[in-house]
């Protein structure tokens, strides 16, 4: 309970009031509007990004060269005792500019073993057969100390060269930075090789054809596998040796983030139930007029007719070829080509083969009676049968998947598919004549479906993907009655 002094203070303070200056409100209003705009932009941002980004990303990724692997060939000079002339040659080339640490410089002439197998000298200037077999190679001019430039150029073996400068920063790369070389390398190197690392200045190497000389009689490729090293801060994930050239595969920073930019191919199947809806309503559209034919035996007085059959759900399935690509860490794009089958069931009466003029003045050669008709106020029921309306589509889906949880392979996906009606046996209903007939010309063959669903991935590399799917056509199947196809199915895909 506040005492007297505090009470007095509180009362006095409650009496006090000030009037803030007008700019205070102006600033408040301004900030509110700015922050609300930012918030609403943030809310819409993901939606816009998904729609726009998927299109742009697809285009840019597809047209971009795949730089997943960058081979860095570390050119080395080779000292071999049995090739003294070449040895001298190579030193002449490189000595001027290379100042890399040569721990066994003195050992070259004396023929001593090199204890550090990671420092290798190899001769430049001769194309090795092995090199020719390895395909295109990228040469990296490793920078000697004091040099300021690194060029990485990719050279295909047909002689064309693409020069790509990765960095111009000063950086020294030394094979000595390779950590923990396997002991077998050490022993082999010590037995067979002179080791001293030479770096070629960029100006020299860009002019030269790539070449390599085999060290000894055995390629070192397998020896260098598993080495842990870095190049320009990127992990070398694999090294290949073509003769004397160590080609290092540098990990793509995107790949190191777990993003696989390759398209995955696969097959997809789905099976489920399809239905015909009137717009978004699930029930059939109410008839504008719905009363039974009058006493005329034909039952075809103007404005009188019998309601058509209820449209029941039928089987749907799809099978096709799927393509999937990772867009981001947890987002994917899927497309493909599929065959989609939808069906609905109606009850029809007898099939009559007779030339008949429809109410649209179109002639048909055969038709189905309605399951019931009335004449002379008497209702007749014909022999009825179930008729399956079958719709065959070829579809092209475009779907964005999003992995909801980081560690659980559960995706939500949404997208559109363009579906082209290629064949159907669906019956149309002539309300005036109360008969069913076939007329595909009234059907809208180009359909756009929304595709929504969730899926769960199994197996290694998330190869098997299963889950429910919901499809709904935005476009009416026939212009006359506003029928929309929809389907609920279970979908399974297998990606290779």
């Amino acid at each position: 309970m506040p005492n007297d002094f505090e009470k007095q203070v509180k009362q006095k303070m409650e009496e006090l009031t000030f009037v803030p200056q007008e700019p205070v409100w102006t600033n408040i209003e301004k900030q509110i509007r700015q922050k609300k705009k930012r918030r609403s932009a943030i809310l819409w941002l993901p939606v816009m990004l998904v729609l726009i980004g998927s299109g742009i990303l697809l285009h840019s990724r597809y047209s971009m060269t795949n730089h997943l692997e960058k081979r860095a060939d570390i050119r080395v000079t080779h000292n071999q005792n049995h090739e003294p002339s070449r040895q001298n040659e190579s030193y002449t080339e490189t000595n001027q500019n290379s100042t890399v640490n040569h721990s066994n410089e003195s050992e070259k002439s004396s023929g001593k073993k090199n204890d550090n197998p990671s420092k290798i000298n190899s001769e430049a200037g001769r194309t090795d057969k092995t090199a020719a077999e390895t395909g295109s190679l990228t040469t990296v001019d490793r920078q000697a100390k004091g040099q300021k430039h690194i060029n990485i150029h990719k050279q295909s073996l047909n002689g064309t060269a693409n020069h790509v400068a990765l960095t111009k920063k000063s950086e020294t790369i030394n094979l000595a930075s390779i950590e923990n070389p396997p002991s077998n390398i050490q022993s082999r190197a010590s037995e067979r090789h002179r080791s001293s690392t030479k770096l070629f200045p960029s100006s020299q190497s860009t002019e030269k054809q790539f070449s390599a000389v085999q060290i000894g009689n055995e390629p070192l490729m397998q020896n260098f596998q598993g080495l842990n090293s870095t190049f320009l801060g990127r992990e070398i994930i694999r090294t290949d040796i073509a003769g004397n050239t160590v080609a290092a595969i540098i990990k793509d920073p995107l790949a190191s983030k777990g993003i696989n930019r390759k398209w995955r191919k696969g097959i997809t199947v789905s099976t489920g139930i399809s239905s015909m809806n009137n717009g978004l309503a699930i029930t059939r559209r109410a008839m504008d007029f719905n009363y039974i034919a009058g006493p005329n035996s034909s039952g075809n007085t103007p404005g009188s007719f019998i309601a058509p059959s209820n449209i029941k759900n039928g089987l749907s399935f799809a099978v096709g070829f799927a393509l999937k690509k990772q867009l981001g860490k947890r987002s994917f794009f899927s497309t493909g080509l599929q065959y989609n089958y939808y069906s609905t069931k109606i009850t029809v009466g007898s099939n009559i083969r007779r030339d008949t003029l429809l109410s649209s003045n179109r002639a048909v050669r055969d038709f189905y009676l309605n399951s019931a008709y009335v004449t002379n106020n008497v209702a007749y029921v014909t022999s009825t049968s179930e008729y399956i309306n079958k719709y065959h589509f070829v579809s092209l889906p475009a779907i964005i998947d999003f992995q909801v949880f980081r560690k659980i392979p559960l995706d939500l996906y949404a997208g559109l598919s363009y579906q082209r009606l290629v064949a159907t046996n669906a019956l149309q209903y002539d309300y005036a004549k109360s008969i069913y007939y076939k007329d595909n010309t009234v059907l809208n063959k180009n359909q756009f479906f929304s595709e929504l669903g969730i899926n769960y991935s199994f197996l290694k590399n998330h190869s098997l993907i299963v889950g429910p799917q919901f499809q709904y056509s935005f476009t009416s199947l026939d212009g006359n009655s506003n029928h929309h196809l929809g389907a609920v199915s279970f979908k399974a895909s297998y990606l290779f």
């Binding site: 005492n3 002094f5 203070v9 006090l16 205070v24």
Partner: protein, 186 residues
């Protein structure tokens, strides 16, 4: 006044409703800000910042308590955060854990001065004392709550408050006796 409709209109983003809400509470809330800061400019800065928070978070006001109390709470926390990040106040906001000079809270002098004069007197306290005095004596927070708000011990809050109170009473009595004093203000 029925604030329910006003809040609804503010949530719809109606500028007139927002202006009305602001004008209704601005005067009182500026006083709150004034008591925590050392200048009217700082007080208006705090008021501006706090009202932006009020409007952006109005959807969180669930009509369970007084709207004025809800806004006032935002003012107080905004003021304290302002003091913490403002260089001018930082060194003075230290709350040393000294327990010397146990001060009696039994003395209750008569406060004869006007509200503005008393507010100016409170603002002359060192910012650390000023904050704790405002929180306890004016806002009514307990020392436990003050400890949580400021990140200090309850005992520190008690001792700091006692010092502030003692100092203020001294000044009030001096004022009452028309004794001039040194002003601590920036």
């Amino acid at each position: 006044m029925d604030y329910y409709g006003l809040v609804k209109d503010c949530l719809k983003g109606k500028p007139a409703a927002q202006r009305e809400l602001y004008e209704h509470f601005a005067g009182t809330m500026l006083t709150v800000c004034y008591r925590y800061t050392k200048s009217m400019t700082d007080a208006e800065d705090v008021l501006q910042e706090a009202f932006v928070k009020v409007f952006l978070n109005l959807h969180q006001y669930q009509s369970k308590g007084e709207l004025g109390a809800w806004i006032r709470r935002i003012m107080v926390t905004t003021a304290i955060n302002y003091l913490k990040r403002n260089e001018r106040y930082q060194t003075d906001l230290l709350f040393p854990d000294d327990h010397l000079h146990v001060v009696s809270n039994d003395h209750h002098p008569e406060v004869r001065m006007g509200a503005r004069e008393l507010a100016d007197l409170i603002r002359q306290l060192p910012p650390g004392y000023q904050t704790i005095f405002n929180l306890h004596a004016v806002e009514g927070f307990s020392h436990v709550e003050i400890g949580k708000i400021l990140g200090i011990k309850e005992s520190t809050s008690r001792s700091q408050y006692a010092r502030a109170r003692n100092l203020l009473i001294t000044w009030i009595e001096q004022k009452n006796n028309d004794v001039k004093k040194n002003v601590y203000a920036k």
